[in-house]
Assembly symmetry: C2
Homo-oligomer: 212 residues x 2
Amino acid sequence: MSKTTISNSVIRRLPRYYRFLGDLEANGYVRISSRELAEKMGLTASQIRQDFNCFGEFGQQGYGYNVTELRGEIGKILGLDKCTPMILLGAGNLGRALAAHIDFDNRGFKLIGIFDVDPELVGRRVGELEVMSSSSIESFCHENHPIAAILCIPKDDAAKETERLINCGIKAFWNFTHYDLRLSYRGVLVENVHLGDSLTTLSYGLNTMDKK
Amino acid sequence: MSKTTISNSVIRRLPRYYRFLGDLEANGYVRISSRELAEKMGLTASQIRQDFNCFGEFGQQGYGYNVTELRGEIGKILGLDKCTPMILLGAGNLGRALAAHIDFDNRGFKLIGIFDVDPELVGRRVGELEVMSSSSIESFCHENHPIAAILCIPKDDAAKETERLINCGIKAFWNFTHYDLRLSYRGVLVENVHLGDSLTTLSYGLNTMDKK
């Protein structure tokens, strides 16, 4: 099973399949056909079959999919059975909200440390963690070996802090800054969330709608 | 200039162009060639020219683009000269963080109301606004005519609240819930931000990286 040929759009659909299957499971579904799943998700049955075929054989022709098994398989592909240690840089409004809001455990991660430069935030409790001073990142990483980091820091600090984190062994970034990590570090794994761009896209949609 | 033929991926790139041009402007750039802009953004010059051609003629052959003019044109296409009234449903951690963190004014919107069902949150100040009870949404909308809404509410409440908002005249949703609005309301404008799916995608990347 070669993973190198799987398109980005298929990968982007996997978390959504996983979510939908979780809802179906919670609602007592045991089996589902690709046609029924397609209807519920607003996709076509052939797209679903094609997507799943990228990862091997999940269903049995004519019998549909076992919901729990399929969800488990997709979860494994997504690495949700893992528990990758992750740190958060930036305990401002957004950082604190993510720490409190996101269900890291069910997404393949464990949040083990939160850091900020602001002395007023250091020592503050966020969920089960206490915000630490950014100056202790190196010693913390040396002891605890986090692999992933969330960046919720100002754009101007992002270049310097990213380099520091990469030197500390961080391999994956969940990037909420507008700093374009990928342009500087092509080998590093980056998932960008540009909230501002997302809102701007909504503005574009409204603007276009007005002119129709 | 027909807008109907513009692909989604071009539209998705527009906010990024707008951001980069803002940085260039701040750094004193007056003109830039498509080649130079392409290098800075990790794109190709021909892609940039093709993208801009979707919206008409911006540059003059051989002279590059005037940075301020181009940024202004893209801003107008994105509707950033507008100030669409927007409300927020859900003043939990994430909702409050968005209200405090997002620069609505420069994204084409103005946040004019925040609502929550939780009596403990009602009356609490978030930035310049005070959280109002969800029961007053109808009267507020009747008076203030918001066009857009941010959904930061639990998934189970989303279907009911969405219908309510649509009845109140809301035409565009910035949706942070996992409720699939588009499946029920095909005519409504929706921009989804699935933070959990985004983190899951990062998990997939790490999981695939491990196996290489």
